[in-house]
Amino acid sequence: MNRRTLYLICIYVMWALMGLVLAIPAAVYLLWPPRPRKEQEWTEAGTVRELNVGHPSEIVFRKNRVDGWKVTSEKSTAWVVKKAENEIVAFSPQCPHLGCAVHWVAKKDEFLCPCHASTFSIEGQVLTGPAQRPLDRFEVKMEGDTLLLGPVQRSSEEAAS
């Protein structure tokens, strides 16, 4: 190996190393998800006593949403169904089809999406399409008489009836 070849190898190796050392952190920085800022948060969403068994009611509450470097407190709603004294289900109002807000039609005993007329039973199961999966549910916890809502759990396709 003469001096020229040695120089060439050194030049290529050094530039390749510097390129990698810059490119890898840059890729990680851009592609890696941010570290979660806080543990899962429970939001107070009213009292259980005021709910009637078998009648979904729309509960409006405020919850904190992390948006990059901001935490915004925003209004959120949930359709809450009391199945028995100690059994509460809270549905996300977002239709699993394209995200319109569903509402309860008391006359027909079903949730209706106004966009494409998907309907869901009081259990959240799809009655008529185009929605492919049941309504998503909030995680629910009760502390005494207070209803606490956690994050929304995405329903699975298999559960569709």
């Binding site: 020229r4 120089y7 060439l8 050194c10 030049i11 050094m14 530039w15 190393l17 510097m18 050392v21 810059l22 952190p25 840059a26 990680v28 920085y29 851009l30 890696w32 941010p34 570290r35 800022r37 806080k38 904190n64 990059g68 470097w69 901001k70 935490v71 407190s73």
Partner: protein
Amino acid sequence: MKMLQRRLVDWIEHRTGLESAVKNFLFEEIPASSGWHQVFGSVAVFLFLVQAFTGLLLAFNYAPTPGDAYNSLKYIVTELTGGALIRGLHHWGASMMIVVVVLHMAQVFLYGAYKKPREATWGVGVVLLLLTLAYGLTGYLLPWDNRAYWGTVVTTQIASKAPLLGPYVSRLLGGEDSIGVVTFARFFALHVLLLPPVTTFLIAFHIYLVRKHGVAPAPGDTRPPKKFFPDQVFKDTLAIFAGFILLFVLAVAVKVPLERLADPTDTTYIPRPDWYFLFLFQILKSFEGPLEVMGSVLLPTMAILALLLVPLLDRGAAKQLAQRTIAFSFIALAAIGWTALTVTAIVTTPEPVTGSAERGTAVGGWQQLSPEALAGIGYYRKEQCESCHNLTDGKAKVGPNLSTTPIKRSVGWMVGHFKNPAQMVPGTSMPPIHLADTQLSALAAFLLTLTPDNATDLESAPGKVLEGAMTYQQHQCGTCHIVNGVGVQLGPTLNGVAGRRSKQWIEVQIRNPKRHSAETMMPAYNLSQRDMDVLIEYLTALPAQ
């Protein structure tokens, strides 16, 4: 395979001429005397590219308005993987770039490489040095922390002192009265929109001029010229590589400061510019009164003019390096002067006042707190301050950790801050707290007793007791009773009441004091059962004294 590659290169060459352009660039002839002393220009260009790259990455997650700027930078540094490294590279890269540009200039100066016909190359180089300093000046404000804010206050004040032009310059920088959103927007626009294209153009022009006139040979060098590639390219690359390793180590090992959010009302902050401007800062301090303009404007302007005029003043024939004694003495004088000024500036920086010393007397546990401060913990929880602040160590949140951040404020200032945070701390994203004045001063009282030592204990105060303290404060029990030494001695001191009376007795005493003693001064309080329960819970939790 080899043939396919050849055909591909030929195809590209035929359409773009790239191959011959690269070859033309690399196989340029340079004097045989070229060598290690000429690597600094390449290192400076490399550092400029690193600055552009890391700056772009930072901009992907940076919101260029005060307040948001600080929060987004904090987000970059604490929540994004690799964010701290990229900010470190950008921060230290800026310092290194100034060092390398000055070294490059010193080398050219020592060797007399600015002489005819290379005067224009030198002039463009001087402008590039000024642009490098302009990056440092404008970039310093962008984190919008206390250091950035106060450092920029000093520099815009200096600019405003220029004769004739001063008011216009400070109007252009948006810093006529104070520094705010306008100055910030202008500095940001200069730093990322104006300076980079201008610098890129001037670097290209500078290199074009170097190529046009050829690298300056040592006088009397009659050896045949050599090729730029690979001999000199290897030397340049090795120098760049060494610089890069140093930069990387700095970025990883030395934490770049991010102080608290810029606070224009902070009278205790000692503003200092970044290290490379300290000598100017020190010159300024040596001139007082009407002479101040000497230090702030005249001297720097004359220095810049002198630099630009160097090739016109020194027009003698090229000399050997060893014979350039005047150039050597200039460099030595400049180095000594700069070092002396910088060291003086560092040594004379006063010690910052530490916050903890000015805090109220540290209180051990929550049982020892005044009812007001204890009620303050209650309001702290009720208003969910903990969604943005930490009291103890924990995951970083939007707001500062309240036990470790020094609070050097009056209760009045804090109440004003709670009511309208942005008025006291421009750019803060803290929402106003909607509580009555007495409740806000309770919150302030709590925060003023908070130290890193008692934070855990205060945070553990039971909820019922806090509600009780809030009830106690709301009904102004302290106008007749003393708790933990705070209050008025009309009625009995309430410490240790649990040892003297039963809960039932206390409840009767509050609801209907006349039943225990007909002459009592105490009015009856018709509290709700919940308020009564928590108040008694609080009173019976008080320590005996």
